[in-house]
Symmetry: none
Subunit: 121 residues, 2 copies
DNA sequence: AGCACAAATGAAAATGATTTTCATTTTCGT
DNA sequence: ACGAAAATGAAAATCATTTTCATTTGTGCT
């Protein structure tokens, strides 16, 4: 855990939700921190690899990040405002596992996102 | 509906699933069509606006497209050799629908892929 | 402290998908 | 056929992200 990662985590805590790399960089600069955009990207990538940060994509393809409290989970994402809800995934987990077993696959993982328009949009 | 849009629809029909703009362009060229990459992007954007084509994003942010109404299905993908199997998704469909309803989301869609190592790898 | 070596940093350049510009070609109505 | 409008695509621009690489910083050892 290097200095950049600590800075990025602290700004993510302050933000308390999703933000893009560029937004986080701006926030850090505005709050007086000295850090390069490259280091923000590097820190985020490393935190995502370590599953400390969740990464997903806006509709325009830009990546957004947020601190990830729990372990493995899935999201319900609003196509319009980007707000997200964590959802219960046991049915999905069972399905993924069953499908993999049925076809003899090992070392199984999965990716699943549900998207739609949220009630307030 | 101009020529480019017709070409793009026909190649999407042939593909029968998701493909990126660049992939579609390559497929069109290989099958002897003459069309510029710009026109492929323009046609896709217009078809998405008209809700004839679905657009979503891979994890790396690249946009992928498919015909709306294309039989919806999911894949089991080998992490090592890339081979894919179509899998049965009714359990997943139910889950996605239930989660969206539970949170009051409308116009719901979802994205799900299962990864693993196939028996022959 | 002094030295060597590894890790971290960030500015600048590269990358790659997508969009914009703009000059040319095609289509369409009269 | 004529002119306006739409379509086309090559080249340039855009923009988030990644890579490169020279410099700085941290760490362990003497
Ligand atoms: Zn919303
Ligand atoms: Zn899961
Ligand atoms: Zn395989
Ligand atoms: Zn499905």
């Amino acid at each position: 855990m290097n200095k950049s990662e600590i800075k990025v985590i602290s700004v993510l805590e302050r933000v308390g939700g999703f933000a893009s790399a560029q937004q986080l960089h701006q926030l850090l600069l505005r709050s007086g921190e000295s850090i390069g955009l490259t280091s923000v990207y590097r820190a985020l990538q490393s935190l995502v690899d370590d599953k400390i940060v969740d990464q997903l994509r806006k509709e325009d393809g830009e990546a957004i990040y947020r601190l990830c409290g729990e372990a493995h989970h899935h999201h319900l994402v609003c196509k319009s405002c980007g707000s997200t809800v964590e959802i219960e995934g046991s049915a999905l987990e069972k399905w993924a596992k069953a499908m993999a077993e049925e076809h003899g696959y090992r070392e199984v993982g999965h990716l699943a996102e549900v998207f739609g328009i949220c009630p307030s949009c």
